[in-house]
Subunit: 204 residues, 2 copies
DNA sequence: AAAAAATGTGAACATTGTTCAACAAATACC
DNA sequence: GGTATTTGTTGAACAATGTTCACATTTTTT
């Protein structure tokens, strides 16, 4: 068996991701330090660069996990309902709750930037799709006229709009801090968009 | 006269802000380095810490400028129109164009984070209001039922929604890169919201 | 013009990401 | 099973960068 190395390798990698996630949860993305991560993971500083490319990749691996777990939440939320507008409202609510309950790892998804010029690898870019996957079905019921391609585009726009409200609220720009106000504003936004979407059906 | 010092001080401060802005425009927020800034401003490294608190404050000063210039654009945009929905569409379009034409300084406004625990000073937080000031009047025409306080809140939500679409598009999440597509999606979003807002008038 | 105050200077320091030469462990081969 | 090779680990060293500070220079005050 040539597998003990692979097992060790995967093990360390996981410990590093665990440690990075824990550090981000404690100190935020900016508080993630190579030395703290390797100490918590129980390995030497240099080992990090054997297990992963660099700190940026480690952040992307943490973000992968967060996206997957957020994706699960959204999937379960949507699968419990049938009315398109109910699904949208429930997804918005679930998204707000996830962000409020996991603010640091949630922020990390959207605040992580690669160095000037670098591009995120495809495997990671594609993972962001789970943010809109659950929106497509209800949206297609509201807008049967749109092509699949257009549906994806519009679903991205819908998600981005809700996301913008949550993000600027959590980072204290306009929408008041209290959680209930944020939830209510997101509800109002989805409400307005749902009505607008229905109408657009006959006139766009 | 005790004014030569003040003049010099203000002069250096401005040169530093100029240099920081130029560096951000060239290399983005992450590419802003104390040494590059002081070299471009023509002063010693340490002088930076006499003129401003630290690099974070320098970024906030650059962001102030950007917000002011963006505020001017929005103000002029709104003042040329009278129909509420026209104003909203025009503001959205102007915002998209500003972001596309000044991506790095525009990003810096929203991506700058202070160290764990620190809060932006009030003078800077309040400057963000210019992003929604122009929205309040058209919105109050669409929703005469809302209190001034509620209008501000809702205007913040509207702005945040549009902002979210622009941001996630520029940072390559969902909405396709081409500028026309982004503009069209923002238009569709504002359309949907305007219709929804009108309806909400009678039922919310 | 001399004394006092404020400011500019750049070397030094602290923190951090990353690399690398030496060492250790795991695996392959006989 | 034992040896050679390949792979992984270590932590010291390096490079980049924000910040401070003792000293020099400039400006203000008297």
């Amino acid at each position: 068996m040539t597998t003990k190395r692979e097992a060790n390798r995967a093990d360390l990698r996981n410990r590093l991701i665990d440690a990075a996630e824990s550090q981000i949860k404690k100190h935020g993305l900016k508080g993630l330090k190579a030395r703290d991560v390797t100490t918590e993971a129980g390995c030497a500083l240099g080992a990090l660069y054997n297990a992963v490319e660099d700190l940026d990749q480690l952040v992307m691996l943490v973000n992968s996990r967060t996206l997957a777990s957020l994706g699960d939440v959204l999937q379960e939320t949507a699968s419990a309902l049938t009315e398109p507008s109910d699904i949208m409202q429930a997804l918005g609510k679930a998204y707000v709750e996830f962000a409020l309950n996991n603010p640091k790892v949630w922020s990390a998804i959207f605040f992580h930037r690669l160095p000037e010029g670098a591009e995120a690898p495809d495997w990671h870019k594609q993972e962001h799709a789970i943010l809109i996957d659950q929106l497509i079905e209800p949206l297609s019921e509201m807008r049967p006229d749109l092509s699949p391609q257009m549906l994806r585009l519009r679903a991205g726009t819908l998600f981005s709009a809700v996301h913008g409200v949550v993000q600027l609220s959590l980072h204290g720009r306009f929408v008041g801090a209290p959680a209930e106000i944020l939830a209510a504003e997101v509800k109002a936004l989805i409400d307005a968009m749902s009505r607008g979407i229905h109408l657009a059906n006959v006139s766009e």
